[in-house]
């Protein structure tokens, strides 16, 4: 199968190469003149030929053009446009350095054009945010935050304040593929979601794919958040940082060998003893992270990168409780350019997620985690001005440690216990073509084939009729089956295997330069599952691979959109509808105990989920006043029917609201540059309250009041709304490149709305009366941060 696939790709390449013989390749890399940082998504145009391309993730471009002399235009957000005449009479390599536009202009002109719409390209359901845009948004605690900014886009939400991760188009948190310099990040949150793990100073560019996901990406079904770190300044040593109320950060970058090699190292830390309530105890809650990167240009055709990320969250409450978790990533990449029109990137990535817990008064330590080693090789093949091909393969080996429990000392009554490690291998090959079929019609189509192998060593329980969950018909409950035996698998023995074709297609039809319709379809497969039955995931949740009892999740998504630029791109409108369904979404039986459970299969059932909706994004891209209005109307549901007609399934086998389903979600964000010194920002959001489950009755058992609840998620919390304001002050704008500083002032939740984080129905222990108790997390919070660079 795979051989045929490779042959097919090869055939494609030859077919198009021979067709394009009479033209020459013009290629190169585009960098920032001040730092030599490569620039992603720069427009490279030859107006007279009506052709152009954008630079890839490594700043590389390649064009096929005939012999002759042409005007070449290079343009990018916030940089001066270069217009240059070039003469092509053979294979030509040209690198360009762009200068920042603000350095020479008296008037501040904000141009967000590169974030504006690309009418012609078939890509849709894609949001790009530059770090400049993110830095303008007012966020909680005055911290610039990548994930909080994403929440203001249509189709992106989360399960409430202070919840980990984010939800895209009704997908679950574990269905997002989060890549930092091509390495998978398993937990994107610090302090249970108050901060994201991404240090904004170290980030260059991010893209969020909500649909129409190219074949290059796979392994998660909901979205792809692709984040690239900066390479570091290879011209001069630079420092930047900030001092805030919650955390501080510092970043240094500079040349190792001038214009050839650079380093970047950045750290962040929150202050310990911050979230303290029990002030007379030794408590602390803090996080820190470290981003590092080395890059070195060997020659015009070869460049290597070595990058690392290390982050930890630490909570401790006296000696009785200590909890540590975080990601660690090491990544070695090699860019190589073959024959000017084939760009390649080879990555070797090691990634590790760790979770540890000590409960002193019970007397044990708990460790769990997931490690993986990933090898991938990706190619960008620029065949001609109408056809560009991407292809490659990815291989990942996973080692899961679901948990190990250890007595803390000899007096502990806890026995040593280890859940079986699980092992798996995931492999994928893909090709993806971007094809300008005609002046008005373009398409991106591709195919990915993914395979997943659950490997030994392992020991798995066996059950009567292969059924680890038993339905008790009389009591209408699901119960764990007792294993009838177990089967051992040797090292590297394949326990179960899966293979799936994942077709992807996006098409665009442009009526004119300013208007287009686009449609897309993508199928994706997810072989890893986050085992979690709480309303919002916790760091304690364990990832588990597909295997004999757990099928891979398979998604089909359809999207249709209308895109329009007004006034030459000063305003833009994006309207999209989507429908998606996921097969094999795990659901949990009532009372499922997932912690330290060696036989997860005994408490889960196989269900499905679906989501559909409408998203509208209206943006003002230019001028002193910029911003957007986003509206999402959507529904996300889940259903787990019984396996036989007698069984009732979960929640009576009916569709029920997902935990993060919000019918209406409106956000408005605006930024105003008053003058060179002051900039004001605001955002407002309004959301339907999150689904919740309220009681319909009560009874008394053992003198305790027990509420009787309605079906899952059949009620809703009150609506959520909030206004945030912020101001940035730059005391002096110097043209010299010396010390620069700025202040950020922010107010979160300006009108002090008590948004319900949760509603708890309980008996008041003093009065004995039953009541509904609202917990609201954040009232009005002012913040101030001091930023500097030199």
């Amino acid at each position: 199968m795979k051989q045929n696939f490779y042959l097919f790709i090869l055939a494609c390449c030859f077919a198009f190469t021979s067709f394009a013989q009479e033209s020459y390749t013009l290629s190169g890399t585009i960098t920032d003149a001040a730092s030599n940082e490569t620039l992603i998504g720069v427009n490279v145009l030859i107006p007279s030929l009506n052709t152009g391309v954008v630079t890839n993730e490594y700043g590389f471009y390649s064009l096929k053009i005939p012999e002759g002399t042409f005007e070449m235009v290079i343009s990018y957000l916030g940089f001066q446009t270069i217009s240059e005449e070039i003469t092509v009479s053979g294979q030509t390599s040209r690198n360009f350095k762009l200068k920042e536009s603000s350095e020479i202009l008296d008037e501040i002109v904000i141009s967000q054009r590169s974030e504006g719409l690309n009418i012609k390209k078939p890509e849709m359901s894609l949001n790009r945010l530059s770090i400049n845009t993110i830095q303008k948004m007012p966020v909680i605690f005055g911290e610039v935050d990548v994930i909080k900014s994403l929440l203001l886009l249509p189709g992106v939400s989360n399960a409430g304040e202070g919840s980990s991760g984010f939800n895209v188009r009704g997908g679950a948190v574990d269905q997002n593929l989060i890549l930092l310099d091509e390495a998978t990040i398993y937990n994107s949150s610090h302090l249970f979601g108050f901060f994201s793990v991404f240090n904004p100073d170290a980030i260059k560019d991010l893209k969020l794919y909500k649909g129409g996901i190219p074949a290059k990406y796979g392994g998660r079904v909901s979205s792809v958040l692709d984040i690239y770190q900066r390479d570091g300044n290879s011209r001069e040593l630079k420092m930047q940082g900030g001092i805030g109320a919650i955390s501080s950060r510092l970043l240094a970058e500079g040349p190792i060998v001038k214009d050839k090699g650079s380093f970047l190292i950045g750290g962040r830390s929150s202050y310990a003893h911050l979230f303290l309530k029990f002030t007379d105890n030794e408590n602390s809650a803090y996080f820190y992270d470290l981003n590092t990167k080395l890059s070195y240009r060997l020659d015009d055709k070869n460049k290597i990168y070595f990058s690392g990320y290390f982050g930890r969250d630490v909570f401790s409450l006296s000696r009785n409780f200590k909890n540590t978790y975080g990601n660690a990533v090491l990544n070695l990449r090699w860019n190589h350019i073959f024959s000017d029109n084939i760009f390649s990137n080879l990555s070797v990535i090691y990634s590790d997620y760790y979770y540890g817990l000590t409960l002193g008064f019970v007397g044990f330590n708990w460790d769990s985690g997931i490690k993986n080693l990933n090898l991938k090789y990706d190619f960008d093949h620029y065949l001609n001005d109408t056809f560009q091909l991407k292809y490659g393969f990815q291989n990942t080996y996973y080692d899961f440690n679901p948990g190990e429990i250890e007595p803390i000392d000899e007096s502990s009554g806890i026995n040593y216990f280890k859940l079986n490690n699980k092992h798996a291998f995931e492999s994928a090959v893909y090709f993806s073509a971007e094809h300008n079929i005609s002046e008005k019609f373009s398409a991106e189509y591709g195919l990915r084939y993914s395979g997943f192998f659950r490997l030994g060593p392992d020991e798995l329980s066996t059950y009567e009729d292969d059924s680890p969950v038993i339905y008790n018909k009389d009591r209408d409950i699901y119960e764990e089956a007792e294993p009838i035996g177990s089967q051992s698998y040797e090292r590297a023995k394949i326990i179960s295997s899966f293979g799936n074709f994942e077709p992807r297609l996006s098409i665009a039809y442009s009526f004119d330069l300013n208007q287009s319709v686009k449609a897309s379809y993508n199928r994706m497969t997810q072989y890893l599952h986050l085992i979690s039955n709480t309303s919002s995931p916790t760091p304690l949740d364990v990832w588990t691979p597909s295997g004999p009892f757990i099928e891979p999740q398979i998604l089909d998504q359809y999207a249709l959109g209308y895109f329009r630029n007004f006034k030459d791109g000063a305003y833009s409108l994006e309207a999209e509808t989507f429908y998606k369904k996921v097969k094999n979404r795990i659901d949990y039986v009532n009372g499922a105990n997932l912690i330290a459970n060696n036989n997860i299969e005994r408490v889960i059932l196989n269900g499905k989920s679906r989501a559909y909706g409408l998203e509208i994004l209206f943006r003002k891209n230019e001028g002193r006043f910029t911003g957007w209005l986003a509206y999402t109307l959507s529904k996300a549901e889940q259903k787990t029917p019984g396996r036989t007609p007698v069984e009732t399934g979960i929640n009576g086998g009916d569709w029920y609201n997902s935990n993060y389903n919000k019918t209406h979600d409106v956000s408005f964000t605006a930024s105003y540059e008053a003058n060179k010194k002051w900039e004001f920002n605001a955002n407002f959001s309004f959301q339907t309250g999150l689904p919740s489950t309220f009681p319909t009755a009560q009874y008394s058992y053992e003198n305790i009041t027990v509420p009787v609840y309605s079906p899952r998620n059949s009620n809703r919390l009150p609506a959520y709304h909030r206004l945030d304001l912020s101001a940035n002050y730059n005391p002096k704008i110097s043209s010299e490149k010396d010390f620069k500083s700025s202040w950020s002032f922010g107010i979160y939740n300006v009108y002090n709305r008590k948004n319900a984080y949760s509603l708890t129905f309980r008996e008041n222990s003093d009065t004995g009366v039953n009541e509904a108790v609202r917990l609201s997390l954040f009232g009005i919070i002012p913040s101030v941060t001091y930023n500097f660079s030199f």
């Binding site: 399960a159 202070g162 249970f192 979230f275 309530k277 029990f278 105890n281 408590n283 809650a285 909570f315 409450l317 006296s318 009785n320 409780f321 008064f361 429990i405 009554g413 806890i414 026995n415 119960e479 039955n533 709480t534 309303s535 916790t538 304690l540 009532n590 009372g591 105990n593 330290a596 489950t693 309220f694 009681p695 319909t696 009755a697 009560q698 009874y699 058992y701 003198n703 305790i704 009041t705 027990v706 509420p707 009787v708 609840y709 309605s710 998620n713 008590k754 708890t760 129905f761 309980r762 008996e763 004995g768 009366v769 039953n770 009541e771 108790v773 609202r774 917990l775 609201s776 009232g779």
Partner: protein, 269 residues
């Protein structure tokens, strides 16, 4: 282990601006259902054969009382076919004075109420002895609460499940399995920020079945401060082992179980 999840709730409440208040939320109401509290007990330190079963009904959530059921017929039948009739006394309590359950034996409960037959079966579970009780002042997640540890020795090489009920002003149910503590001397744990020296705590240790353990596991997640937060499991209907044989849709709540109990009481120092 459930308490681990509680910690996340705790940490989230830390920021100074968070607040809890009582709000007025109107709730839907459902038809009343029968609630069965049938705990048949054998106390290690008592020869008493008096057993009681309580029947009541569900009520709207904000009501202050739940109505007792006084007109049902209740009996327990042993494996040998011996019948023990339970007679209504007051407020939904039904009494029998001759039932001394035997460890390992199975019993059947029969209730006839509103012309519908409800049944349940249960096996009498034994329990080991309380060894001793210990108090420290470094308990709780904060390390500053009085904690009381009730030590017992788990019988090795068999699965055992325990229910501890601690009573002072408040009632606290704690459940344990021996998955990680098989054969060891281990403790039932009670910690409460309000207990003071001089307070008396009544302690009951029950041997319970795996299915009653699972029932209490779900029940405990629905009550008090355990429910509702994002780091909690979603609320669920807690279905017990009493089955309505006449009308499946009209299922009751509550449980029928038989346990040996060791008791003790402890005065906080």
């Amino acid at each position: 282990m459930k308490t681990l999840l509680k910690i996340f709730g705790l940490l989230l409440i830390f920021p100074a601006t968070s607040c809890e208040d009582v709000v007025d939320i109107s709730l839907e109401e459902t038809e009343p259902r029968l609630v069965v509290e049938a705990s048949i007990l054998s106390f290690k330190d008592s020869e008493s054969n008096i057993q009681q079963i309580r029947l009541s009904q569900t009520a709207p959530f904000y009501d202050e009382e739940t109505p007792p059921v006084e007109n049902a017929s209740v009996r327990i039948i042993s494996e040998e076919g011996l019948q023990y009739d339970f007679i209504h006394t007051t407020e939904g309590y039904y009494i029998n004075e001759n039932l001394k359950p035997e460890i390992g034996a199975t019993y059947e409960l029969e209730i006839i109420y509103n012309d519908e037959l409800y049944t349940a079966t249960g096996t009498m579970m034994g329990v080991t002895d309380i060894d001793f009780i210990e108090q420290t002042a470094t308990g709780g997640f904060g390390g500053d609460e009085i904690e009381v540890k009730v030590f017992y020795t788990d019988p090795a090489n068999e699965p055992n499940f325990y229910l501890f009920i601690f009573r002072n002003d408040k009632i606290s149910l704690e459940i344990y399995e021996d998955k990680f503590t098989d054969g060891n001397q281990i403790f039932g744990y009670y910690s409460n920020e309000d207990i003071q020296p001089g307070d008396e705590i009544d302690i009951e240790m029950y041997g319970i079945s795996k299915s009653y353990y699972e029932y209490l596991f779900i029940l405990r997640a629905q009550i008090g401060e355990n429910s509702g937060g994002p780091f909690e499991t979603q609320p669920a209907t807690v279905k017990g082992n009493v089955i309505n044989r006449s009308n499946k849709e009209n299922y009751p709540f509550g449980y029928f179980h038989l346990s040996e109990v060791d008791t003790s009481s402890y005065i906080v120092k």
